[in-house]
């Protein structure tokens, strides 16, 4: 397969995934969406292996590295500013604080992953050993577990303060009907 043919095939796969995912959204079928995306990834992997020419070289990797670094800096700065703005406006709408907290977790997670990947690649360049993959996978798995536990934890609830029920975070249940006596 030539690079030009691969480009057309790539567009075809993108269209296919878009159709499947949009239909999955219409049908409210999460499994279909996952299958569509997985199939898209599989197809792309297969097609890449069929290409005879060079798809990317050192110049592309260098530009990609610079683009990733710049994107990381832009995203970090932008999200940091949004977090501060949302925290500043938390009295306007309590939901702002929740969004700010979620964004803070995401930002911290991103910076942590960046640090881990950087130190791993740095180590790999020196030692040439790939054993760090396991350590990195364990750490990232632990992080994902922590975040998912935090998200699914029932911390968001109604608190009784000065004789009135005060919403803490975003509780799923409605305000308690029982008397608040504190």
């Amino acid at each position: 397969m030539t690079i030009k043919q691969f480009t057309y095939a790539k567009i075809g796969v993108a269209v296919f995934v878009a159709i499947v995912v949009s239909q999955a959204v219409v049908l409210d079928n999460f499994v279909l969406a996952c299958l569509g995306v997985a199939l898209g990834f599989g197809l792309m992997f297969f097609l890449r292996r069929q290409v005879s020419g060079v798809l990317a070289d050192e110049r592309d990797y260098e530009i990609a590295g610079r683009a990733a670094r710049l994107s990381f800096n832009i995203f970090t700065g932008l999200v940091g500013a949004i977090i501060m703005l949302l925290m500043f406006l938390r009295d306007v709408d309590p939901f702002n604080e929740t969004i700010a907290v979620v964004l803070t977790y995401a930002l911290c997670g991103q910076m942590l992953i960046y640090s881990l990947v950087f130190s791993y690649l740095n180590r790999l360049a020196v030692t040439g050993r790939r054993t760090g993959y396991i350590v990195a996978a364990i750490i990232i798995g632990f992080l994902l577990l922590t975040v998912s536990l935090r998200i699914s934890s029932p911390e968001d609830s109604w608190l009784c303060e000065n004789g009135a029920w005060v919403r803490h975070g975003q509780p799923a249940e409605p305000q308690p009907t029982t008397a608040c006596q504190k």
Partner: protein, 63 residues
């Protein structure tokens, strides 16, 4: 950095595509190299020098 890639390639009767295939890069990279808009890695510089049957110091000159 000045280089003699284009002159050498033409002298050997190679197209940009053929040189790109020989050294394992995309044709665009050869274009940028010839225009002096990209500084190659030492490995790529070596591969190009080998493909063009010339030494690196003759192929690339620092100004």
């Amino acid at each position: 950095m000045h280089n003699e890639i284009k002159e050498r390639r033409v002298r050997l009767g190679l197209t940009q595509e053929e040189l790109a295939d020989l050294v394992g890069v995309r044709r665009e990279t050869i274009v940028y190299l010839e225009q002096g808009k990209y500084n190659p890695s030492l490995k790529l510089a070596h591969d190009i020098a080998v493909a063009l049957k010339i030494s690196i110091d003759k192929l690339f000159q620092f100004e």
